[in-house]
């Protein structure tokens, strides 16, 4: 059975480098993808995922195992850092995302999916969190609620509304792709 994240964290606090390497290997890819989906920007995603782990290893790290899982804490950190990083670059995360602003766009095969990616990033932040966490990162409603810090019911209703908005965007895109792409 795998060692839990929390146990790895305890070992990290005692200076165990192997534990840090294991936790990093286990959680970094998903955290990076999460930041990438939120920001659409590879540089931001890399910096944010790194910074989340950097904060975790500091002597004054704020993680408290009594308040929730380490995984939720890391996702929450990445979420906040992504917002800060985006603001620092002078682009509100819910601002207009353009087609050429990140590696995600280059990876996406298909105009409709590309338009959806932009539509996701242009959702109101609460809706975007719900879609990225639940539908793109496939986290449970409970996990997503812990990351965002809201009740499970709120995540469900936000996801429901977000999907309605996205479905409407897709439908509109199919009718008039050139108007919706940006």
């Amino acid at each position: 059975m795998d060692t839990s994240d929390e146990e790895l964290y305890r070992r990290i606090r005692k200076g165990d480098r192997q534990a840090l390497a294991e936790l990093y290997e286990r959680r970094e890819p998903a955290l990076y993808r999460y930041a990438l989906q939120l920001s659409g920007n590879q540089a931001i995603a890399e910096e944010v995922a790194h910074e989340a782990f950097l904060q975790l290893i500091q002597p004054d790290a704020r993680y408290d195992a009594h308040r929730g899982s380490l995984q939720a804490y890391l996702y929450g950190t990445v979420r906040n850092l992504t917002r800060v990083a985006y603001r620092a670059r002078g682009a509100g995360i819910s601002g207009e995302a353009s087609v050429d602003d990140g590696v995600v766009q280059a990876l996406i095969d298909g105009e409709t999916t590309r338009a959806l990616s932009i539509a996701v990033r242009n959702l109101p932040s609460g809706y975007r969190d719900a879609v990225v966490l639940c539908d793109l990162e496939e986290r449970s409603y409970e996990d997503a609620a812990k990351v965002v810090g809201c009740p499970v019911g709120t995540i469900r209703s936000r996801l429901y509304r977000a999907r309605r908005l996205l479905a409407a965007k897709l439908k509109q895109y199919r009718l008039t792709p050139e108007k919706v792409a940006r």
Binding site: H50, R163, A167
Partner: protein, 209 residues
């Protein structure tokens, strides 16, 4: 006959579409009678397919290995600095011992034993540190990706027991001859900047040399 209203059916069809499941018999019956729900069912299925493609696009993506190595180097630096309180007052007995040793050597008229030049010149930073060499040329190996020392920044050197794996985590590549001994401990002088992060490492002893 179902008593659900369209809102309740839509909750169900969203969940079914998210799971990639087909409609239940009762949902299919409702959708065949309700144009609005039928339209939403199709929209949700299409959306789900596009979300799946979006998910696949970033699957397998992760930060480059350089970020992992940077993190491990930072962690190594934090570990070294955490031992600082113990060393805070160590300079007093060390200086006293050095003074006594120097006095004795002068008194005996013996030539002073060579102090490793790179350690003695620690305040000069690592810009001139030599590469992994042998004999007289051996010296400090710069830690890759470490911030360069600022002009006038003082450094200090602490002696530590390290092993090859720790060096690799700091981003220092060992020559092939040493790579096989990754698990062996050896002594090393670690040069720390004012921020207590390692800037360079000098291997002092190897078990098999």
């Amino acid at each position: 006959m179902s008593t659900k209203d369209c809102r309740q059916w839509q909750d169900e069809l969203v969940e079914r579409a998210r799971r990639g499941a087909g409609p239940s018999r009762s949902l299919r019956a409702h959708v065949s009678e309700c144009a609005r729900c039928e339209e939403q069912w199709e929209a949700e299925r299409t959306l789900n397919e596009e979300l799946r493609k979006l998910r696949m696009a970033s699957e397998g993506q992760r930060s480059g290995d350089v970020w992992r190595r940077r993190l491990m180097a930072e962690f190594a630096g934090l570990e070294l600095s955490s031992s600082r309180p113990l060393l805070r007052w160590a300079w007093i007995p060390a200086s006293a011992a050095l003074l006594v040793a120097a006095s004795v050597q002068i008194w005996l008229g013996m030539p002073a034993r060579d102090v490793p030049a790179k350690v003695a010149a620690q305040s000069e930073g690592v810009a001139s540190a030599v590469s992994f060499g042998t004999g007289e040329d051996s010296g400090f190996i710069p830690v890759p990706y470490a911030l360069p020392l600022a002009t006038g920044e003082s450094v200090r050197v602490v002696r530590r027991e390290l092993n090859g794996a720790e060096l690799v985590r700091m981003g220092i590549d060992l020559p092939g001859a040493f790579a096989a001994d990754l698990a062996d401990d050896f002594e090393a002088d670690v040069m720390l900047g004012e921020d207590d992060l390692p800037r360079a490492v000098q291997l002092v002893s190897y078990p098999e040399l």
